[in-house]
Every structure is written in structure tokens, then in C-alpha cells.
Assembly symmetry: C2
Homo-oligomer: 233 residues x 2
Amino acid sequence: MLNSELGVKDIVDNPKSIFYLLNQEEKDELQHHISLAHYKKNEFIFKEGDKPTGFLLLVDGKVKIFKEGVGGREQIVRMAKPLGVIGYRALFSDEIHNSSAVTLEESLVCTISPDFIFNRALKNSDFSFKIIRKLSKELGFSNSRTVTLTQKHIRGRLAESLLLLKDKYGFEHDGTTLRVYLSREDIANLSNMTTSNAIRTLSTFASEKVIAIDGRKIKILDANRLERVSKLG
Amino acid sequence: MLNSELGVKDIVDNPKSIFYLLNQEEKDELQHHISLAHYKKNEFIFKEGDKPTGFLLLVDGKVKIFKEGVGGREQIVRMAKPLGVIGYRALFSDEIHNSSAVTLEESLVCTISPDFIFNRALKNSDFSFKIIRKLSKELGFSNSRTVTLTQKHIRGRLAESLLLLKDKYGFEHDGTTLRVYLSREDIANLSNMTTSNAIRTLSTFASEKVIAIDGRKIKILDANRLERVSKLG
DNA sequence: TGCCTTGTATGTTTTAAAGCATCAAAGTTA
DNA sequence: TAACTTTGATGCTTTAAAACATACAAGGCA
């Protein structure tokens, strides 16, 4: 299923990778500070409270990043896709992880040693700046989500989450089916609602022909309408 | 009221300032890229949608950073105190401001030109790293707040906000009065609740002798109890 | 000084969403 | 293949918080 043949070369030579902008010398050195790990579906990559072991790059697969809240109720704060980096916030702030990462499907993750990141990569101001940009964007996203999740009503929150999944993972070849298959519970935890309400509201959207559901397959039939629901409830 | 005599020297020579770690040459150059502005109470420093004009440092005063949500309802995402930096997230991500900054009292703000920040400061890896750390911590804070504001009940949210104000601004000389004077509306907007509920819950806390209120003056009588309320509701 | 706006306080009603309960369907394991 | 577990679906009840309605106090300002 997974392309386990992916090597360091494929990562550093992909323009979408954060390591693409390193110079050749740095890329060569990176080889000695990187290791690859395989995860099955629904496995923890790290847990809230763990000490960061390095800078993690999701090579293949999909991952949810979530925090445990009141009574163990989880809130998904971010979704990661291939070539996305994870766990770096805690590494850079020298804190323990304040969120957990769990694979949504079989995944490949590579770990880059903190030593390389701090003593080599961050000395390259292009790399530092890219990290700064990434953190800045994510902070903007997080602040926006705070407002959405606290202020929008259920329909708006769910609509926004569906659009978020669309933007992050895109569609299957048919051009309408979301290329990510979440349980209703995960959809609920992404949208700050109970599983019952996620199920109920998805059904309503389906009956309104805004989406179509077939098991975990979600087709977005009317993205504009979804945008409107997201904005106006 | 304000110490308007504060000069660039006082900023760069204060260990709490982000510019403290620049080298002498950089500090000297900074002088030519910095300007100071004075704001009265309740004035906008920047508005959601504005293009960032530079890197802002709050020299004196207090500032709330907030986002407009559904129906104009505002959510305070951060509070700033002297020597704190503001508006840098949008500057670094090259976006328009996604939040507004308004003074809570008379304030002094200095603006550092984007040119200096991008072409000089960020070439200094110590400075870059400090920015990375700052963004990382703020992102952690933002994610935690998301969970708090969506999951905790009113009492827990308000208790957490009061503790947050305590940690940020500390106490007056009496050791119990919060050194920040917010309207009930601002307290509500910080805690994701209506003004009525902020007033009601503050009254309840006062009747429980957890705090004491005298107009906008809030005394924290039992911080431990407040911690417990914040955790358990 | 009194008027008027704004902020604070508190009681009442309404409502969105959580919490429960039940059942069906789909997966998983023995 | 049957027994069991998990996930999805839907109806009903409860509840936390918003919305609304006054009322009162304080601070500006004419």
C-alpha cells in the first residue's frame, strides 16, 4: 500500500518539503540525522506529555493532532498530510507535547535529530524563516478556529470542517469525494460537537443535497452552499 | 502618566526585550528603523484587515488583541504588556492582520520597519530562534485556549481567564488586586461568554469569597480555589 | 444641576446542543 | 458462522448558556 521505497533523496528533492531549500552540503549531512518509522492505522506517533524526540516529517499517510480536554473529550487541532511536519511546536518551545498525534491510516514518518535541526538547519536563515512562516500561519489558523469553534453553530462548524478537509486532502479522481475517511467521532472531534450531532447534521446536509454520504465516503455536491452555511450557519 | 522619555536605548538594553540579543552593530542600526507612537485609551493600533506596517513593540501600556466573530461578537485572543510584541504574526506570514489591537489604557508603541526585521534581525539566528520560540509558545497557548473555551463551562472559563490575567499582569502592591482593569464586557470577550454571564459569575465568585470586586478592581482571594474551579468547573 | 449615555446587576424565558437510550448495520474475533 | 464489538442512525429529555427585560448606579457633558 505505502511506497516504502521513499528515501531521503525523495524528501529533500521535493519542492514541497521544508528541507528542499537546504543547500547541498546541509542535505548531505541530513542523511546522517534522519530515520524512518512505519505506523499502522490508529497508532500513536506521540502522546500529550511526551518529550519530543525530534523534528517529524510525515512522508506518507494521514495524521490527526488532537488535545485531550474536559473528561477526556478530544479536540482535533490539526490534520497532517504527506510532507507536512508534526511535533515541531513542542520541540522548538522546549516543552513536552501538548497534543497527541495518531495515524488515520498506515503512515511513514521520518525523524530528524534535534541536533541537526538546532545546530545546522536553524543556522540557515532561509530555513528559519520558513519555520517562522509556518508557525505564523498555523497560529493564524488556530486563532480563527478558536472563534469558529466557540461562536458558530453546529451547522456552520461542520460545514467549515468539511471545507477544511477538502482544502487539506482534496478530492478523489471523481472530483467530489473527499480524499480522507474519518469516523463520525473524528468528524465530531474536529468540529467540537458530539458524535450524535455530527451524524445528525451530516444526515441533514445529505438530505439537503449539499453532500452525499456512503459510509465514510463523503461527496461534496455543493461547495458554495457549504461555504455559505459555514459563514452564516 | 506614561514615561514618554523611554528611548530606543531603554528598549534594546532591557533583557526582557526581544532586541536585547542583537549585537551592538545591529542595535545601532535599529535606531534608524524605529519610530514611537502614542495611543490614548481605547484606540485601535491596527484593525483586522489592515496590512501590517511593521514589527510592533508595546513599550508601555496594555493592549487587547481580538478577532471579530459571528455577528460582530469579539473574542480576545491575547493580552499584551510592556515589552511584548504585537502584530508580528501577520507581518511574518505576509498576510493582512486577522485580529485587531486596541489599547486598554494610554500606551506607547514603537514600530520597527519590516526592512530592518527581514534584512537584518532575521539574519541573526539568535533573533530568528527567539521568534520561533515565541510563535511556538503562542501556538501552544492558542491551542489550549481553543479547548478551554469550547469545553469548559462558564465558571471554569472565567476562572481560567482571571488566572491568565494574574499571570500576565500580576498584582498591585497589595499582592491581591489584579493589575489590570477590564470592563465586564472585555472579561466576557476574553472568556467566551455574554457580558451578563460574566457579571453574574463574577458576583457568584465574590459571594463564594474566591474573589472580591470593587468596580473594576478584582482581588484574588483564593487562587488555589480558582485553579480548582478552572480545572473542574 | 439635571440629563443622558454607558456600564453593571439580576431575574425570566428561550433555545441550541449535550446527554441518554435504543436499534440497526457493519466489522472483528473466537 | 455465530457471538461480540464497534460504529452509525435517530428519537426523546435535560440543561447550560444565550437572549431578553428591567433596573439601578456612575460618569460625562451640556
